[in-house]
Symmetry: C2
Subunit: 357 residues, 2 copies
């Protein structure tokens, strides 16, 4: 692995200046065919591969778009000790293939992002870090022409900061008065439709909301939930029934309700992941879904179609969100204006967990 060849090496071997070498690769028409061939041959012999860093520095942009995920999605993995290869393989082959861990909604957005970037001839840089780790996203921001990011913890000001130098899109975050671009869905309409279904169609009266309000989108869903209950003339709760985080000691309120025999008619969960956890808890305590209690999710991830019963949920256009982010970033970097906020539609997906089918 000798140190890589540079333009200088190629130029010397081809008997031309480095400018000609550069031209040969970037603006071939400016170089006489014979000279070009000379340069290409030299490059071939030397195994020349242009340095992306040097090019990026010289041109002022990298042709790369960044996607940053806080590790909130995979904390367990990040903290795990490095397993031996054997252990990794054995665990993977012996364990169950788990659709609950992958693909999640992040992965679907990422996929759309990748596909569109590919279409546009851009490379994608994937970064990640701890929730509080400012440096991770800053580092990434310094290497790309645009950055898309998932909502994490207290990163708002950090993003504004980063956004001064590079366009930034934030997913699943309702319109706000900041300098970032937002992509989200019509949470209000979606929740309204969901509640209408549970109350209007199935006649449930005791309908509750489960979810942690920290994420901006989930807050919006809860407020929409309150409004929807009100619209149906039902009592409006001040807070979610359970504000779980899906960590160790989660779903406490739900388990207490089960223990005391006062389970609501319907559990509206802020996300599919949460809904699946709820299904588990209910099953473990001998409660049948939907006979004893209805459950709904939000997102439309794959695992929700594999569960028993299948999940009634709201499908989000994740791939489109990822694609849209790419378009916004590229356009904005090129000076083309874009609306600061996009609110995409959703679709109610009726499964078995609400009592239908």
């Amino acid at each position: 692995m000798a140190s890589r060849a540079t333009v200088y090496d190629v130029a010397e071997r081809a008997g031309v200046s480095i400018a000609t070498v550069s031209h040969t690769f970037r603006q071939p028409q400016k170089v006489r065919p014979e000279t070009r061939e000379l340069v290409l041959e030299a490059a071939r012999v030397l195994g020349y591969v242009p340095s992306g860093s040097a090019r990026g520095l010289a041109k002022g942009r990298s042709q790369a778009l960044g996607l940053y995920a806080f590790d909130m999605f995979l904390p367990s993995d990040l903290n795990a000790p490095p397993a031996s290869l054997d252990a990794l393989v054995r665990r993977e082959l012996d364990g169950p293939a788990d659709a609950r861990r992958f693909p999640l909604y992040v992965d679907e957005i990422q996929r759309g992002f990748e596909l569109e970037a590919r279409r546009m001839g851009r490379t994608v840089m994937l970064g990640s870090g701890a929730s509080r780790d400012a440096l991770g996203s800053i580092d990434l921001a310094g290497s790309v022409d645009g950055l898309a990011i998932f909502p994490g913890g207290a990163e708002r000001d950090l993003l504004e900061y980063v956004g001064r130098g590079v366009p930034v899109v934030i997913f699943s975050s309702p319109p706000m008065d900041d300098t970032l671009h937002h992509i989200t869905v019509a949470n209000e309409a979606a929740v309204r439709e969901l509640v209408d279904h549970l109350v209007g169609r199935h006649g449930h009266r005791s309908v509750v909301f489960l979810g942690e309000l920290a994420a901006p989108d989930i807050g919006a869903r809860f407020r929409a939930f309150q409004a929807a209950l009100g619209a149906h003339g039902l009592p409006v709760p001040e807070e979610p029934f359970d504000t779980t985080t899906l960590t160790a000691d989660s779903l406490r309120s739900l388990r207490e309700a089960i223990a005391s025999g006062r389970v609501p008619d319907a559990l509206v969960c802020a996300t599919d992941q949460l809904a699946l956890a709820v299904l588990d808890v209910l099953a473990r305590h001998g409660l049948r879904v939907p006979e004893d209690v209805a459950v709904t999710g939000f997102d439309g991830i794959l695992a929700g179609r594999l569960s028993r019963p299948t999940l009634t949920t709201v499908r989000q256009p994740f791939a489109s969100m990822g694609r849209l982010a790419v378009r916004i970033l590229i356009d904005t970097a090129a000076g083309v204006e874009h609306p600061r906020s996009y609110v995409l539609p959703t679709r109610l997906v009726i499964g078995a967990s609400c009592g239908c089918g």
Copy 2:
């Protein structure tokens, strides 16, 4: 979007030299706390974000690992005209969520790659291009400290070329006498086990292989298939029953066999994707699986667990392969030797498509 602040700007504002600014971020212990605070404050005010390109150039490495996929996996998307946002969203929400397109095996390897890179504090650069496009992977190679790649078309020499400057890992490619690192699975043992099951357990005699031999791993599987049949005293075919490419006019041999009423007992498909297509064709022609004909796949992708019947297949440790690639790349870049080839184990997964269950 004013042009980004640089070390010079920060240095000037803080009244220090650019070296001190750099030290503040890279080796904080070398600068006095008060000075450090001065610099950080200046950086904060200016919205300073270090340039990844400049750093990469100065240090000679980028802390990024590359993953390159030829577009053979997504040709349709690449060639599609750019749809309007509305059209994209509508198509996504209205269409069926299709586990047959995602996640595929590439995605699972990629996931392992990403997770391990994250663990190691590296960023991942995703590139892609047309099969014949040398420039794509070369460009990517120039921007990363190591490159992992899927087997595509005639890229062998290209990879050797790229491999001169940067460590390269190639997936699903049996050990070869080249300068690259290879990661694959024990195709021979896996196919042997599969055939043993079909012949020994289910008593099938007319067992055929379907698959395109271009991919190196698939070639290995077919040779193992031949050997396995021979070991059972069955006639050994010269060629696969069908060498389909899953494009427009695919599975011709199979359809002809169906038309002529001479369908084999068991169809051993080179991949799950192919097996799923085979299931479709069989169903469309009124043939029942496994009653009329047995089918097996290879890979263990998610869609194979969603099909009816579920697929009997061979599960590969994809995530581990991705993780291993990262370890190889990082180690090799650091001068630590690694075996040139890794051959990982697999696991036979019995579904319903072979006649079990």
